[in-house]
Symmetry: C2
Subunit: 454 residues, 2 copies
């Protein structure tokens, strides 16, 4: 009987206890953004640390970050074997609008095949499943790989302290691969692995044409209007083909090869369903690319917010002094956020008329990431998923950003395997968040097979 077989047998014996323990974990309201839940944050971190100690890790500690602590755990008893850094987070989003929940978000409740609770899908169940997989190995005399845990408490508030934490503890966190449990699969019974994520560079721009708001009757027609200047600038950011018009913007973008385009085309995607899900009358994007390519493999630039002048009820004839926009570029691997900022500044400089002042403020950024689909770790993950689900897993790209993936690539020099089990209709961040329970057990088995197969 191999170590994996022994672990799977343990899972079959133990799985009857999982739900009660998971419910205990989910019941603690670890909302990282609310000061009143500070005590719950510590309780949750300690609950997790106790579990890690319980499965036999050598070192387990709460490490301070300046904000909520990181739960760190380590077992390095398999010299010569790979070292896996497990990434997850124990914090959750607030629960508003609370009226729209069917049951209390912190009284985890089973209805049908689903467990309803805040954090059920994002992502307590998955970090729990990974710990249960490790636990399944422990009785047999140790783990199949060296393991480190970095479970943070600030993911839902943008991980403000994480990059510095990783940088500070670079040696301690050294590993061969990151197992990132914060993710999902394409369908209940359709496993998949995300191998590319878009990065993000977020900016705020202020345009000022004069000092104070003026009367549009008195001054209108004799000085510039900052909203006009901003609108013209925004209009200049895309060309007629829907491409971003910053010079050099696409220089480092990796073009898709034919094989990858064919693979992406095989993903279960339907433009009509996508359009309906967006609630749009029509799709629109960069000429020459499919929707899957546009959101997964192509960089974009979107204005996220705009404001200026009078925005209240009724009419006020103001000639505003200032106009503002927030906007962000979704970047693909190899695009450098700092270079993009430089391109933006050059573009703004070239387009804003003389006598108009502007300020560009970089809010936050993270590089895009692309993982090698042929690496041994990736293959181990694909094999594990296929064995557990009985269906060939698919590779997919994601349009969103998981900054920690880029950060790990940048600071630790390692790829992440995105192995999580959430579903797109789990309602994360919203009311009635849920998790499809059969995939709790499949998840534990997948983590067992993945770790055993490394």
């Amino acid at each position: 009987m191999s170590a994996v077989e022994r672990a799977l047998a343990h899972v079959r014996t133990a799985r009857g206890t999982y739900l009660d323990e998971l419910i205990e974990f989910l019941a603690i309201p670890s909302i990282s953004t609310l000061p009143e839940n500070r005590g719950d944050m510590t309780r949750t971190a300690q609950w997790l640390a106790d579990r890690l100690r319980g499965i036999g890790l050598e070192t387990v500690e709460l490490m301070s970050t300046g904000g909520h602590p990181v739960v760190y755990g380590e077992w390095l008893g398999a010299p010569g074997r790979p070292t896996v850094l497990v990434y997850g987070h124990y914090d959750v989003q607030p629960v508003d609008p609370i009226d729209e929940w069917t049951s209390d978000p912190f009284v985890p409740t089973v209805r049908g095949d689903y467990l309803y609770a805040r954090g059920a899908s994002d992502m307590k169940t998955q970090i729990f499943a990974q710990v249960k997989a490790m636990e399944a190995f422990a009785p047999g005399g140790g783990f199949p790989v060296n393991i480190k845990y970095l479970i943070e408490g600030e993911e839902e508030i943008g991980s403000p302290n994480l990059p510095r934490f990783i940088e500070t503890h670079r040696d301690q966190l050294a590993c061969d691969v990151v197992l990132n449990c914060d993710g999902g699969i394409l369908g209940k019974d359709q496993p998949s692995i995300t191998y590319a994520l878009r990065g993000l560079a977020y900016f705020e721009l202020e345009i000022a044409t004069h000092e104070k708001d003026l009367h549009s009757g008195v001054f209108g027609g004799s000085i510039r209007n900052p909203i006009h200047v901003l609108a013209e600038l925004i209009a200049s950011l895309h060309d007629a083909d829907g491409r971003v018009a910053l010079p050099g913007f696409y220089d480092k973008v990796r073009e898709l090869d034919e094989e990858e385009r064919r693979a992406l085309a095989r993903l279960p995607h339907d433009d009509e369903a996508w359009r309906a899900m967006a609630g749009a009358k029509a799709l629109y994007g960069e000429t020459g690319y499919t929707t899957v390519e546009r959101v997964g493999a192509r960089p974009t630039l979107d204005i996220n917010g705009i404001w200026g002048g009078f925005t209240g009820e009724g009419a006020k004839t103001v000639l505003p002094a200032r106009a503002f926009a927030k906007f962000s570029t979704r970047l693909v691997a190899d695009q450098d956020p700092a270079e993009i900022q430089g391109q933006l500044e050059a573009h703004i400089k070239a387009h804003v008329p003389e006598g108009v002042s502007w300020k560009l403020h970089g809010h936050s950024w993270g590089p895009g990431a692309i993982m090698d689909r042929e690496s041994p770790c990736m293959r181990a993950a694909m094999t594990a998923l296929g064995e557990v689900f009985g269906v060939a897993p698919l590779f997919k790209r994601e349009g969103g950003s998981v900054p920690v993936v880029g950060i790990m690539q940048e600071l630790l020099g390692v790829d992440s395997i995105m192995l999580g089990f959430g579903l797109s209709d789990d309602g994360i961040h919203g009311p009635d968040e849920r998790f499809y329970l059969p995939n709790l057990y499949r998840g534990v088995e997948t983590y067992v097979r993945f770790l055993g197969g490394l």
Copy 2:
């Protein structure tokens, strides 16, 4: 001794009493927008009605409008002579920020040559001066012209009930000319008459590309962004020469002739001072026109407000569903607001891409106005100003709108003579509003000479 000479003699005798009586008028806080001042509004209207009765008008009444009453007065004892409709308002603006007032806004206070009080310049002093001019004629046996008074109480809240009131009482208000006392002159000692005002058409536009705000990572690049659509639309509203790019927009604009351009060029105006007053680094406007022409004689289009998406602190990667703009055109005489709305709709229809929905809402409008500089009434006003100030008065155009002037032209078919004595640095609508007292007495004399000279 002519009637005018007798009246002027009366003014010289009576002027010592003016200040105390004016202070009584200014001390009543007739703030039309505040419900708690409703009683003060009625008191002010009655105070005025008593004055009109006191000078011998035949009919004086408070007429209901649906909002604050109109003070109406009438004397038609000069058959064959012209009928003058005096327009003014007895309401004032709120006093915020109250901390910035040197003395209580409703305890009128003389400091140097100025009388400080809310309503001192806008416009209780001027309607008071006009009544005093009429009073000066009364002892001599009647007025030199037939006279009607329409003194409203809702000018500072946009005269919401005035157009309907005028329409309903069209016959009662019939007149040969309107004497609009709600205005100003170029300088303390430089009289002037505004003979053209810009009109206004105010709109709100909503652009919607999909149903709900979406995640810019998930959907960014695959559907339209309403802020991009709105920005492109705004950019399309002007051409490179700063002209409004709506087809037909300039068709009805009266071009300035050489004589009028020369007269406007003689007005005391300095581009550098104007730029400094605006707090702008540079002036900008329609190619081929001077600043005075741009703000006085040319129509403009300004975005007054814009909003959409996330406008709070920090970064939110939202792909908004909707974007909004408020904007207004300043129109010159002969441009028809309804036609402009039609041009706008056609332009939007032509520029908004398929699959994007939009709604245009017309908020409010008033036509522009231009008065005949050669009419007998206008000449009487110019003569009166020149005699009283000892300086030739200048003709000027104004960029702002005085909707009642357009309304009078439209509903009663008569021009308005803009004869008021406010100064641009009187601080109307702000703290420490004031009136230059020597022009109270000049004002009474000017009204005497104007009425006598008709």
